[in-house]
């Protein structure tokens, strides 16, 4: 029996990743009651924090949130005016108008218990309109992308995982030569296993001067991620081994160990009713 189980496991591991993940999805269906039970229990556990908070703390937090909400409303008004202006200019130039996005919140269920992946599961799945390769964001910047989607949950590969590479560029204001865009790829670096916030920015042109602290944003190339999402800041740079490119170390803007909630930008016509948090 043990040999049979070993053989079955080896056979599963030898299957292509896509087929294996289909098997995994099917097995997850069997384990769904257990997953739901665990998720419910952890939600209740999280809610226990409420018991330890004092009324004064809650009142202070409420006041702070009200203030932030007012700021957000005012900046939204400014943004709407700019969006209208942008739309008018696009129409006058004959450019195609951009599709609006709707942000849906997702709660983090579990983080990967193994050191060799940087991934986590969120409580939004195909029933919420989530698709594979949907970007995952938080207010500090890019978190990762959705790799596998199940009915009620999705697997997110974080930036710095070998399966999540991001087309990025230096923020135009930060580039030393603004006329020449400094495009490259954010990928796992030698220090990513040690420090999850440290990633490598590779394939940068040699004639670009990189200043430590410069902002790195997504370039939108390849269509995987929308343009302009903050990724992190340059720490240092050096010529690559081939000397054809420059590579830099980038510290991510998001502390992946402190994530509690993330946001998924979905096309607005996809799910109008799913904007409410679970």
């Amino acid at each position: 029996m043990m040999s049979l189980a070993l053989l079955a496991g080896c056979f599963l591991l030898a299957l292509p990743t896509r087929v294996n993940s289909q098997f995994k999805r099917a097995v997850a269906g069997v384990f769904r009651p257990l997953l739901g039970l665990s998720d419910g229990a952890s939600r209740q556990w999280d809610n226990l924090d409420f018991l330890t908070l004092s009324k004064a703390d809650l009142w202070e937090e409420n006041r702070q949130l009200r203030k932030e909400l007012q700021h957000a409303r005012i900046s939204l008004l400014q943004k709407r005016a700019m969006e209208q202006e942008n739309q008018t200019l696009r129409q006058s130039l004959g450019w195609e108008s951009q599709q609006p996005w709707q942000m849906i919140p997702a709660r983090i269920q579990v983080a990967d218990p193994f050191n060799w992946w940087r991934s986590l599961y969120i409580d939004r799945g195909s029933s919420d309109g989530v698709m594979e390769n949907t970007p995952v964001l938080c207010p500090q910047g890019l978190v990762g992308k959705v790799e596998q989607v199940e009915a009620g949950r999705s697997l997110v590969r974080l930036v710095g995982d070998p399966h999540c590479r991001v087309a990025a560029m230096l923020e135009p204001a930060a580039a030393a030569k603004p006329l020449r865009a400094a495009h490259g790829t954010i990928m796992e670096g030698p220090q990513s296993t040690w420090n999850p916030r440290m990633v490598s920015f590779q394939h940068l042109p040699v004639d670009i001067r990189l200043e430590p602290g410069s902002q790195v944003v997504t370039s939108g190339m390849g269509g995987g991620f929308p343009k302009g999402i903050p990724v992190g800041r340059i720490v240092d740079s050096r010529p690559a081994e081939s000397e054809l490119f420059v590579e830099a170390r980038v510290i991510l803007g998001v502390d992946l160990n402190e994530l509690e909630m993330v946001w998924l930008p979905l096309p607005q016509n996809r799910k109008e009713t799913d904007a409410q948090p679970k």
Binding site: M1, M2, A5, L6, A8, G9, C10, F11, L12, L13, A14, T17, N20, S21, F23, K24, V27, A28, F31, L34, L35, S38, S42, V110, A111, D112, P113, F114, N115, W116, W117, R118, S119, Y121, E147, L155, R157, D161, P162, H163, E188, P190, S192, T193, W194, N195, P196, N257, E258
Partner: protein, 195 residues
């Protein structure tokens, strides 16, 4: 001296498995630890070690259910955990004749060995399957750290699991007619009455 259970009723197996499932879920929620030690803590190899040495009849069921559960909580391809655990168990059962059962040093060594082997087997399986896991020198630190944690936590977990054994498992009663500590000494002037 530790008594090895003769059989394992279903309730015992269900509780043993439930503890493992809860532990697997809890450690995937405790990602804060990684921030301090640069390594995730995985205590399930302790359960693997205990199952390998003391719970032979249910070892396969435990590996399949708990292995699938752990793979469902991670980005591992399905089968990684159960194959690496079964390989670990096969290796541990080879050397169980030389293990110091019931001694905390032996148990600590056993848990450290189980932790290191399950990590190495898992990494090797992923690497051979071209799944590109993040390996390198930090992996050696992570394996060492986890083996140390399992060595520290193993003897304590074994006390709990043994208590579970005592509570739920039936052990054979010692034979009343035989006392291993009784020794018959015959003097030099002994003469049998039957002669």
């Amino acid at each position: 001296m530790l008594r090895v259970p003769m059989h394992m009723p279903h309730l015992h197996f269900i509780l043993f498995l439930t503890f493992a499932l809860v532990l697997g879920y809890a450690q995937s929620r405790a990602w804060v630890v990684e921030g301090y030690w640069h390594s995730q803590v995985d205590l399930l190899p302790i359960w693997v070690a205990y199952a390998a040495v003391f719970s032979r009849p249910y070892v396969l069921g435990f590996c399949l259910v708990a292995g699938i559960w752990v793979d469902l909580l991670s980005a591992n391809p399905l089968g990684t955990s159960w194959v690496s655990w079964l390989l670990t168990i096969l290796c541990l059962q080879r050397v169980q004749g030389v293990l110091l059962r019931g001694h905390w040093i032996g148990e600590a060594m056993l848990c450290a060995l189980a932790s290191a082997m399950s990590l190495v087997f898992g990494a090797a399986l992923l690497w051979m399957g071209r799944h590109h896991p993040m390996l390198g020198w930090p992996f050696a630190w992570q394996a060492l750290f986890n083996a140390s944690v399992c060595a520290l936590g193993g003897p304590m977990a074994f006390i709990l699991l043994r208590a579970l054994d005592r509570l739920l498992l039936a052990h054979p009663l010692p034979s009343p007619g035989y006392h291993s500590v009784v020794e018959v000494k015959r003097g030099r002037f002994y003469r049998s009455v039957w002669k």
